[in-house]
């Protein structure tokens, strides 16, 4: 057995996040960590260390997949560029829509207290009252939680059908961080002029 490190338990954080969000939607704000940390690591560290080591979601899918996954290779299109970047684009559009809804509530529209799965299905769940927070902050929390639950659901389904971490093939954060690293290293190659070992080779 490989030695376990503290970061091997980050899946507990992911699980706690999903549960806490059900009890108080404002916990959904913590999801910002799952968006910002990987991007910062990629931007400043130039690596996918977040995916490679610290992502609780990846770990959770791995653990569940050990028992539940069919362990079949996924269809080719899943790893194709157009699908991965297409899904990222779709995700960003939906993220933008969520920001716009937050703005609308900020500007005075009534709060929509709903978490939607797959952008369409309203989750039948009565969230406890959060009137102590500003309506826009609550609206944003509902939006973030919808995204987190939707991506968890997609990850879960592809975990069952294919390999445990199939979600990581089309995860928007994974695609974005890899994209950033690609751009970063291309630039470095230009600066240092040693194109001899470009990471895309081999």
């Amino acid at each position: 057995m490989k030695q376990k490190h503290w970061y091997d338990y980050l899946w507990i954080g992911e699980l706690a996040y999903l549960v806490l969000g059900l009890f108080n939607i404002l916990f959904a704000w913590l999801g910002m960590l799952f968006f910002t940390i990987p991007l910062l690591v990629a931007l400043f560290g130039g690596s996918k260390a977040y995916c490679n080591r610290y992502c609780g979601r990846g770990q959770l899918l791995n653990l569940l997949g050990k028992k539940l996954s069919r362990n079949q290779p996924p269809p080719r299109f899943l790893r194709s560029r157009w699908f991965r970047y297409g899904f990222l684009t779709f995700f960003m559009v939906m993220f933008g829509r969520m920001l716009y809804q937050t703005y609308q509530v900020f500007a005075g529209m009534p709060l929509r207290q709903a978490v939607t799965l797959l952008w369409v299905f309203r989750l039948p769940w009565q969230w406890p009252d959060v009137s102590m927070a500003s309506p826009w902050a609550a609206q944003y929390a509902y939006g973030v939680f919808s995204i987190m639950l939707t991506s968890t659901l997609l990850g879960f389904v592809t975990m069952l059908l294919f390999r445990p971490r199939s979600w990581c093939v089309y995860c928007p954060m994974g695609t974005m961080t890899q994209g950033i690293c690609q751009l970063k290293h291309r630039k470095e190659d230009l600066v240092h002029g040693d194109g001899a070992e470009s990471p895309a080779d081999r």
């Binding site: 996918k48 490679n52 390999r163 093939v169």
Partner: protein, 68 residues
């Protein structure tokens, strides 16, 4: 000389998730620059563990080229 006649080879569509590196018993894989997985041929024994977990299914286990 070498008992290990096989070697893992990473395809270009690698998503740099690191699943392969975390299961490799020989620590033969690193994720180069967050862009693509790279196998150190000196360490890889061709066991195929990485290929079995790769969620993108881009790893193949190939026969080593005979070294001159």
């Amino acid at each position: 000389m070498r008992p290990n006649l096989k070697l893992a080879r990473i395809g270009r569509e690698c998503v740099a998730c690191g699943c392969c590196a975390s299961v490799c018993p020989r620590q033969a894989i690193r994720i180069a620059g967050g862009v693509i997985a790279r196998v150190d041929p000196a360490l890889c024994v061709g066991c195929g563990k990485c290929a079995a977990v790769c969620p993108a299914a881009v790893i193949t286990i190939e026969a080593r080229e005979v070294q001159a």
